[in-house]
Symmetry: C2
């Protein structure tokens, strides 16, 4: 069966997805009877293109990689109109994250869902700010709002809790949700002070010039909100999640933890307490005997406390072009296999 795809955003994740789809097409066809066609792409830099019979993806990758505008199948439609009018089954929203307003991604999601198209997105904006509204709109239109890539890239979290762990009740989630800060804390153990480590993280491209989103815990807070709403149906907002970053952690703190057989981690946490769901982000001393304590560098991890299996921990990459591209593929396949 052929899935018609529209990609909104043709940056790192969009191009990564196209490369994976090309590489895997034969295998996906053999294993899951999965075939695809990209019918529309909208990108701020390269232009909007549409061909209901399928675009020339090789050419588009070539042009985008050379930073050139698209030349074939150009469309006059603005992005929202393109989403509404195209013949796609699934719209992949892959633009930049805005955790203040959710825009412009939120308009793209509404346009797709309201015209009966599935949304697959790695954009934390709509998921963290408007999950309950998007889920309702998707349900009303009998389509899905799929957001595996918004938490820990392609490492299976949402498809794990909804799939193989679906029969369990999850009462608590604790995790290392931000690779940059976990890298920084790992390096500080080697004796480098906070400011020096931040500089290295920025040089390596882990932290941005303005590192606030990572080091103050805001990125992790967005992910905690998404987990609370999708796994525990909490209906909470970002502002409901308490948030403390790693900026106050000193080398003395690191040393003190070591003496207590523990290690500082920035822990995002969601917990059911007395019928309420409480979300928080804060640095914690994690005992070295806990699986989360051994997760070093830019790797991410989550521990789910369940009624039937006790603790289940999953460890994997939290970022990356191919890793995030895979999260989009895994949601597309999930939709495909449920049909």
């Amino acid at each position: 069966m052929k899935q018609k795809l529209t990609l909104i955003g043709f940056g790192t994740v969009g191009k990564g997805l196209c490369e994976i789809l090309k590489d895997k097409s034969q295998r996906l066809n053999n294993s899951y009877d999965f075939d695809y066609e990209v019918v529309a792409v909208a990108d701020f830099a390269y232009g909007n293109v549409y061909n209901p019979n399928g675009l020339d993806i090789d050419l588009m990758l070539e042009q985008a990689n050379a930073k050139q505008k698209f030349t074939k199948d150009l469309s006059e439609l603005d992005t929202v109109s393109l989403i509404k009018e195209c013949n796609a089954d699934i719209v992949c929203e892959l633009t930049y994250t805005d955790l203040q307003t959710g825009g412009p991604a939120i308009d793209h999601c509404k346009a797709a869902l309201s015209t009966g198209k599935h949304i697959v997105t790695s954009n934390k904006g709509p998921a963290a700010l408007f999950y309950p509204e998007m889920k309702k709109l998707a349900d009303e239109n009998n389509v899905k709002f799929m957001i595996e890539g918004t938490v820990v890239a392609g490492t299976p979290i949402i498809n794990l809790t909804d799939g193989p762990l679906g029969g369990c009740e999850i009462s608590r989630i604790r995790g290392i949700l931000n690779g940059t800060t976990n890298y920084m804390l790992s390096e500080m153990e080697k004796g480098m002070a906070y400011d020096d480590v931040l500089k290295v993280a920025q040089d390596l491209g882990y932290a941005e010039a303005d590192p606030t989103g990572d080091v103050e815990g805001f990125d992790a807070r967005g992910k905690v909100t998404i987990l609370a709403n999708i796994v525990m149906n909490a209906g909470i907002k970002i502002a409901d999640v308490s948030c403390e970053g790693i900026t106050k952690i000193t080398l003395e703190d690191i040393q003190k933890a070591k003496e207590q057989n523990a290690r500082w981690k920035l822990i995002g946490s969601v917990e059911k307490k007395d019928g309420k769901v409480i979300g928080s982000v804060a640095p914690e001393m994690v005992d070295l005997s806990h699986p989360l304590a051994g997760v070093m560098g830019a790797t991410n991890a989550l521990t789910f406390t369940t009624d039937l299996l006790g603790d289940i921990t999953i460890v994997g990459p939290g970022a990356g072009k191919i890793e995030t591209g895979f999260s989009i593929l895994t949601d597309i396949l999930s939709i495909h296999r449920s049909q």
Copy 2:
């Protein structure tokens, strides 16, 4: 939709499954439109019973817990005939594991699959000895042979690799597949010698009076064979998997590993090499920076090396009445949700 179940074996796992189904019925109905009825049970100790309209599970649990034979809906049919003639959609094979012959479970699996009934099993015998044959028989009859519980109880392994990781190519699996030996190695780190630790493990019920199956690595070897065949389609036999247990590990070895920032683990491994799949079980010194090194006590864990996500590690329980019962539920739900 109602799934009609037949349970072969009404011991720990069978009773655990019934308890979970009773506790969860409302939630499973709300979430997945899942309803069930147990139509037949065959147990060596309690007798064979059949009622095409559903058995009285509360009464049966009461009788089995009191070690009394079943009294209601008794059937004259032997177990294989009962499997063939009952009106079940899914047969749960929950008898004891025999890694030499696979019997009697293998006859139960054949009877079910050949009469168009799905098999869900936590029995390592048929899975480790005859996976390719069972898969073929299932495919021919358009039903499934589901074996999540044969590896690491209900911790999602097979449903994870087939589900959320389905888009990845897995080139290597390395894991702690036996809780008893992992408990023993963890305790030896505290300074207790092998023979003393084995005695404690036996007292705690982790190890059996004849501990060979665990300490010589045979249990782990069965699981490696299953993983090789189901995840990598290897078509290998138990005898193809090299196997060394932990009986030669001394306190000196443990100390030496510590000095090298490492820890001994009994590692089951499956790897694709030059087009061939190689399986092995052997003690290894695992560097403390690896997620598997931090897995202590009776807990199990597996690391999958993938093409798109790099390493994904999952950590969870490897045994237990409810944990294994859940593995059966998760496979039943997987069948249910794919319909």
